[in-house]
């Protein structure tokens, strides 16, 4: 057993100097949350490319697979790497955030009664952050795992088929709601916590709801678009086909 372990075990590790770890953990919780929230904004815009058409979505997919860097060759494992990094930050954030959760039923009961009696927006919103965060432990993990292991299935046919043929649209609908509420509240909390310009909470709250509404509408429309693609091309998906962009189809037909 090391000397350090013994000092920690005897509860004397914080003497004479208090550990700097709580400061770092607090900062990391905020930083990892900010990273994930900003990533989700980008993510939403990338997946929403389907609203502009299957070709647009295909281009975005291929961009992340390095198609435009490696001279027309796509490497889906590049996506796996990005997903792995996001998953690592996700796990880190979950680990840090869970420190704030009620740790037993008694704490949960006290907080719930407090929120109910206070009728205070920020206090109630935190409960929703806990609920949505807890649900995402499972749902976001499942999504991240799927994207990391089968990145080649991301594309108009693959993503559409997943929604419609595999019937995963309810899963994504719930995940969308969880992400948008958790992320929106989280970003608002970050602004208040670190006191961003003049800290008008009224303004920040309005901004928060506007952003949440925008991403929810975009998310619903995107989900519907994938369901439609999935429905229209269900046979292609079942046959394991990957989408071919319009210009490539035309070039192929021209060659014939």
């Amino acid at each position: 057993m090391s000397n350090e372990t013994l000092i920690i075990q005897t509860g004397l590790s914080e003497r004479p100097r208090k550990s700097r770890l709580p400061a770092r953990l607090d900062f990391l919780q905020s930083a990892s949350g900010l990273f994930l929230a900003l990533f989700m904004w980008g993510h939403m815009f990338f997946v929403a490319s389907i609203l502009l058409g299957k070709d647009s979505m295909w281009m975005i997919t291929k961009f992340f697979e390095g198609y435009y860097v490696f001279g027309g060759k796509a490497y889906p494992w590049l996506v796996s790497i990005v997903v792995a990094v996001v998953a690592a930050v996700f796990v880190l954030h979950a680990m840090l955030a869970v420190r704030k959760f009620p740790i037993n039923y008694s704490q949960f009961k006290l907080y719930r009664a407090h929120a109910k009696s206070m009728q205070h927006g920020d206090t109630t919103m935190w409960m929703w952050q806990v609920y949505t965060g807890f649900a995402m432990f499972f749902l976001a993990s499942a999504h991240l795992y799927q994207m990391m292991v089968w990145p080649q299935d991301i594309g108009p046919f693959g993503s559409g088929g997943r929604m419609w043929v595999d019937g995963l649209w309810p899963f994504y609908l719930v995940l969308l709601l969880l992400v948008e509420f958790h992320g929106g509240i989280g970003l608002y909390r970050l602004a208040v916590k670190w006191c961003w310009p003049n800290c008008s909470r009224e303004f920040l709250k309005k901004l928060k709801w506007a952003i949440t509404a925008f991403f929810l509408i975009l998310g619903f429309a995107t989900l519907a678009a994938y369901m439609k693609v999935g429905y229209d091309y269900q046979e292609n998906y079942k046959n394991g086909e990957h989408y071919t962009p319009t210009w490539a189809q035309q070039a192929r037909e021209g060659a014939k």
Binding site: K18, R20, D26, Q107, Y111, A115, D122, V192, C199, R201
Partner: protein
């Protein structure tokens, strides 16, 4: 606009509203006592505060009712209680701003003395001792016969602004973290740290303050729910002070 319903009777007299007070009663010293709600009816009077209403009830209806007060003017902070579920000062709350049904309960977190009376003093003393909420100077340099060093009026004003805290306990009772973690210093403690950090007479460094609040029972336990800021009867800028302290303490930890 006031929601008082005044009915003018035929004789020209003004009839006030009948208020119903639902008060949480419990005497921890009595083994037979169980927490329960008790209702009292009282005719509203012009300019009536909750403190006046409670005095009326104790005077004329129930002498066993326990609640705290000293100054009756929002200065001492003794009469803080849960008013319709939210902490506030009874002496500063006008019944005309409320509905006819009013629920009163003691502040949570603090030791209950009985009914609406809680021992905020004990909690505040513990917090003050723990955070050493006094000006720290080098003993040998204190010379009482020497005039104090002048302070910039603007700075004095800033310190005074934070010193307006009356330790009523409303911020602690409104804090989600304090409900769950009993060792949390609350906004009152963090406000005091911010106050002594401003004071040039206090020779403590940021590292010294970190020793006092640099953990999860201090500033890093705060989740910025800001119930404290929203209920503070002295309208102290708690949101800004907590954020200020957090930024300083994170810098120390980095």
């Amino acid at each position: 606009m006031s929601n008082v319903q005044k009915n003018t009777a035929s004789g020209g007299q003004t009839r006030q509203r009948m208020l119903t007070f639902h008060i949480l009663r419990y005497n921890p010293k009595d083994p037979d006592s169980k927490p329960h709600m008790q209702s009292y009816q009282l005719e509203e009077a012009e300019g009536m505060t909750l403190f006046l209403a409670l005095s009326e009830i104790r005077e004329h209806q129930d002498p066993t009712l326990q609640y705290d007060f000293v100054c009756r003017a929002g200065i001492c902070g003794s009469c803080s209680m849960l008013i319709n579920g939210r902490p506030g000062l009874a002496c500063r709350t006008l019944t005309k701003d409320m509905g006819a049904d009013i629920t009163l309960a003691p502040l949570p977190v603090f030791e209950l003395i009985g009914d609406l009376s809680v021992n905020t003093g004990k909690w505040m003393r513990g917090m003050s001792e723990r955070l050493e909420t006094w000006v720290h100077t080098k003993e040998e340099e204190v010379n009482l016969s020497k005039a104090e060093t002048r302070m910039d009026p603007e700075l004095a004003e800033k310190i005074y602004e934070l010193d307006r805290c009356v330790e009523c306990g409303s911020c602690v009772a409104a804090c989600g973290t304090a409900q769950m973690r009993k060792d949390f210093v609350g906004a009152v403690g963090m406000n005091k740290m911010a106050r002594f950090k401003l004071d040039p007479r206090d020779e403590r460094t940021d590292e010294d303050f970190y020793e006092l609040v640099g953990d999860d029972s201090g500033v890093f336990g705060c989740m910025s729910l800001l119930g404290c800021h929203d209920v503070c009867p002295k309208e102290l800028p708690l949101q800004t002070q907590i954020a200020f302290l957090r930024r300083k303490m994170v810098t120390i930890g980095s």
